[in-house]
């Protein structure tokens, strides 16, 4: 099944950005993350491929600044998928490389030309530890 053109173009844009970007479908399943995101997550997209929502949302062990685990539903991407509104949060993740990083994430909904909800994209920034 070919993805909607809006999703294809979002991936194309992501591949030319130096800002880490994570792209999911309306169910939250991971479609793509770009090379800068690979550096944060500690694994290449070619290795992981797409992932179901439940897998990626727990794979990176998100915790808040006090070290308490963040439920998948409270991650910005999941909030955006539920509300179809932008969401923003600071938290820590542990990548596949075992490194803990403090990040800031903004998730935005992707509403297509016809208004159809096609998924969401999250932009990441790494913060000083």
């Amino acid at each position: 099944m070919t993805h909607p053109i809006e999703i294809i173009l979002t991936r194309q844009l992501a591949e030319y950005l130096s800002v880490p970007l994570f792209l999911v479908d309306p169910k939250g399943d991971l479609l793509f993350y770009n090379e800068p995101a690979e550096a944060l997550l500690g694994r290449r997209f070619e290795e992981t491929g797409g992932m179901p929502a439940e897998e990626w949302s727990s794979a990176f062990k998100p915790v808040d600044d006090r070290g308490l685990p963040i439920a998948p539903a409270d991650l910005p991407l999941m909030i955006t998928l539920a509300t179809r509104l932008p969401a923003h949060k600071r938290f820590r993740i542990v990548g596949h490389d075992g490194v803990s990083r403090r990040i800031e994430v903004t998730a935005i909904p992707i509403a297509g030309l016809t208004g159809a909800f096609l998924g969401a994209a999250a932009l990441f920034w790494e913060l000083p530890a």
Binding site: T2, I8, E15
Partner: protein, 290 residues
């Protein structure tokens, strides 16, 4: 059987004159006839005007399917006689934008000062927004999908009586494919429309050398059209939307050179105005005549 007639194959703007007479100078339009006489017209470039003399008195409806609203794809509309005919219903299908319906967008052209007649004064014209779910017109099953081209643009896949056609006259599926590496079908614009079709009418405006300075303009090279067709498994590809600066000799040379260098996986022909393809009824590959 589906009969496909190329009425205009030129891109961007008309290119009339003795040097372009063989491929033709009219902008995009393609007529499809079903065996029951149903008439679909793909795009309304200046080529659509060639069709007016073929519209017989027994025809009560014509459906015009627009891929997008760039001028070369609509500039024949106001000069297509049947839209003024009191006994012919004209249904125009095409993409809305995120804020405007098709008729609201089209009226920007079909109204003064760009055109003397206002769309609302054409009482038998009815506009329909696409993409929508798959739909049918007479014997034709039609699927649309937004594709890679600046401004809202759709491609069409049309099937009838065992034959299939994909129409992607303005399409840049290679945009963003890095280092010539094409991704899988799910990440290739238009793939699903073109998968396994008998006849693919596809953008091939540029040479590789021209494309280098026109990336993002929404058009393809011969090489990209071949690769898109190969990946989609199309049985035959018609190269379309010829650049207005390319005369007949140049187009002959481009086709010959591209076939030699890039070795397409299926039958290939340069789109000539007036060519008729007959699909279905066991014609595989499609039967062609001029």
């Amino acid at each position: 059987m589906m009969r496909v007639t190329l009425l205009g194959t030129r891109g961007s703007m008309p290119a009339p004159g003795p040097d372009t007479a063989r491929y033709g100078g009219n902008t995009p339009s393609v007529a499809l006839r079903g065996s029951d006489g149903t008439l679909l017209v793909l795009d309304a470039g200046t080529g659509i005007c060639r069709l007016a003399s073929d519209v017989t008195a027994d025809l009560s409806r014509i459906d015009i399917l627009l891929t997008h609203l760039h001028m070369d794809h609509i500039q024949g509309l106001g000069f297509f006689g049947p839209i003024y005919h009191p006994d012919i219903d004209i249904h125009i299908w095409g993409p809305a934008s995120s804020t405007l319906s098709l008729d609201a967008r089209l009226v920007r052209y079909l109204s003064p000062p760009l055109f003397p007649v206002h769309l609302r004064d054409l009482p038998r014209v009815c506009c329909h927004d696409v993409p929508c779910s798959d739909f049918e017109i007479g014997p034709f099953q039609i699927r649309t999908s937004l594709v890679c081209h600046p401004n809202p643009t759709v491609g069409y896949r049309i099937e009838a009586e065992g034959a299939s056609l994909a129409y992607l006259p303005d399409h840049e599926p290679a945009l963003g494919q890095r280092n010539g590496h094409w991704r899988g079908p799910e990440w290739t614009s238009g793939h699903q429309l073109a998968a396994g079709v008998d006849l693919l009418i596809h953008d091939a405006q540029f040479t590789d050398e021209e494309y280098a300075s026109r990336i993002g303009w929404g058009h393809s090279t011969y090489r990209q059209a071949f690769e898109f067709a190969r990946r989609a498994g199309a049985k035959e590809v018609v190269l379309f939307h010829h650049d207005p600066s390319h005369d007949d000799a140049t187009l002959d040379r481009m086709l010959h050179e591209a076939v030699r260098r890039f070795k397409p996986a299926c039958c290939v022909s340069g789109g000539h105005e007036g060519t008729v393809y007959e699909l279905g009824n066991g014609h595989s590959p499609p039967r062609k005549r001029r």
